[in-house]
Amino acid sequence: MIDSVIQVRGLNVTYGDGSAVRDVSVDIPARQITAIIGPSGCGKTTLLRSMSRLLDLVEGVRVEGQVLFHGQNIYDPRVDVTEIRKRLGLLAQQPFPLPMSIYDNVAYGPRVHGLRERKALEALVEKELRAAGLWEEVKERLRAPASALSIGQQQRLCLARGLAVEPEVLLCDEATSALDPISARCIEDRLLALKMEYSIVLVTHVLRQARRLADYVIFMYMGELVEHGPAGQVFADPREERTRAYLAGEFY
């Protein structure tokens, strides 16, 4: 039995006009890369965002069921949402640097959580920029606006910013799809390096990317979880006909 960090139990998500995720139960393994794959509109992103209560930001959304993080249901009303979000980081599809300098972007999270000491902040910023593979490119211009970076650099900055609050899980929502191939590869390499310390869940449209990165695969179709299992098994010998058809490229 593998060690799991998140357990989804009977999750149902409905938006105002219809259901997006129906009765999903799955365990997310710790310190591995889990890829959620499936055609557009199958509920991948909804499932991912449900894991750190980012769905709360959407108007008219209803969530039923449980998402257990270390055994605690994150939808329990007594839970501190900011604490949950701090421990489950997000890397979005589009990089959104905050309207401040490169340095302040990385320092934003730690400052919000109470770190004030300058020396500690500086050390942390350097450490996370290194971890995101951006340090060498920006060390001379930490005070420059983050918006001046290229889009690939911005995504690595967002990665560093996310790492700076020391999450346990990284949720990546098609984090490379807006990037050029070289930047995308760079992010992939980072994720592979980071899985030693973090549990990573990524949503991807690109099957080849899932094959390159994933240790564990979840296949979603029309809001339902069709199949999940170790990547090798799902890719080589899927149990379900729908998974087989999707992997064979019969629908997108």
């Binding site: 980012l54 930001l57 900011t82 979000r85 979005a92 959104f96 309207p99 401040m100 910013r161």
Partner: protein, 286 residues
């Protein structure tokens, strides 16, 4: 073939109408400016800008309108600061804390839109009643409050428009790091919207400094420099009004000079705002 000709003709006619409208708008603005400059510039001199009215000033004798210049800056400046502080709270509340599309938010916006259209003399009358109730007299403070009320609708609705433009992804990025709504509002939202907010402040300031009716009863008028929040102050719009109302041509000319000073102040503040907006735009994410 014929429909294509028709379409081209239509486009030409519409384009012509647009150009005519633009010329009319810009032309009338230039005409106003020209009138003020031509009639006011000859009366403008250093004494006017550096002295307060002496005895007999309104009969054409010596003195200046420094009292009105200082009074107007104090009134509009104070009102802009006050309405900014109140307005920022309302705008952030509506944008981040109230459920979008809620009845309450709708009601607040509707009342602000109605207030936007209320004639400024009504604000003056309301302010006057308020002063009487508080047993105060016309004063700088009274004028600031009346002008702040006048500026508030511009301030809130303007800031809301600017904040609407903040991308959802930016909000989400801040929340995803575990920031609270307040932290997101003050550290991310306001910074991203800062250039727009400054422009909105300029609009509100312009509305405030140019208004005569709301300060007529609330701020009063005096020949002295502003020296206390609780004493009356002069203002440029009223200086124009009073001087224009005299039968003496040289005093009327001074009214135009005062109007010119008002225009120059607004122009100066606009240029300053431009500079500030450019600086603030440095960090804005597009």
């Amino acid at each position: 073939m014929s429909t294509s000709v028709g379409k081209h003709l239509e486009e030409r006619i519409m384009l012509g109408l647009m150009i005519v409208s633009t010329v009319l708008v810009v032309g009338s603005l230039l005409l106003i400016l020209a009138t003020v400059v031509v009639k006011g510039a000859p009366a403008l001199n250093l004494a006017m800008l550096t002295q307060v009215p002496r005895g007999g000033y309104y009969l054409g004798k010596e003195g200046g309108i420094l009292n009105a210049i200082a009074g107007s800056l104090a009134l509009a400046g104070g009102a802009t600061v006050l309405s900014f502080l109140l307005g920022l709270g309302v705008a952030l509340y509506l944008q981040l804390f109230v459920r979008q599309g809620s009845r309450f938010a709708h009601l607040v916006r509707l009342s602000l839109d109605v207030l936007w259209g209320v004639p400024s003399i009504v604000y003056g009358a309301f302010g006057f009643t308020l002063l009487l109730m508080l047993k105060m007299r016309a004063s700088l403070l009274g004028g600031i409050i009346a002008l702040a009320l006048l500026e508030l609708p511009v301030m809130v609705r303007g800031m809301e428009e600017v904040m609407e433009m903040v991308p959802f992804g930016l909000k989400e990025a801040s929340y995803a790091l575990g920031a609270t709504r307040l932290e997101t509002a003050l550290r991310v939202f306001v910074r991203q919207a800062a250039p727009g907010i400054v422009t909105v402040m300029l609009l509100a300031f312009g509305r405030g400094i140019g208004d005569a009716a709301s300060v007529l009863f609330t701020a009063g008028y005096t020949d002295r420099m502003p020296n206390s929040l609780l004493r009356p102050v002069a203002s440029l719009p009223l200086a124009v009004f009073f001087q224009l109302g005299t039968p003496l041509p040289e005093v009327q000319q001074r009214a135009y000079a005062a109007a010119l000073v008002l225009v120059v102040i607004v122009l100066g503040i606009s240029l300053l705002t431009r500079l500030l907006v450019r600086r603030l735009s440095r960090y804005v994410v597009r």
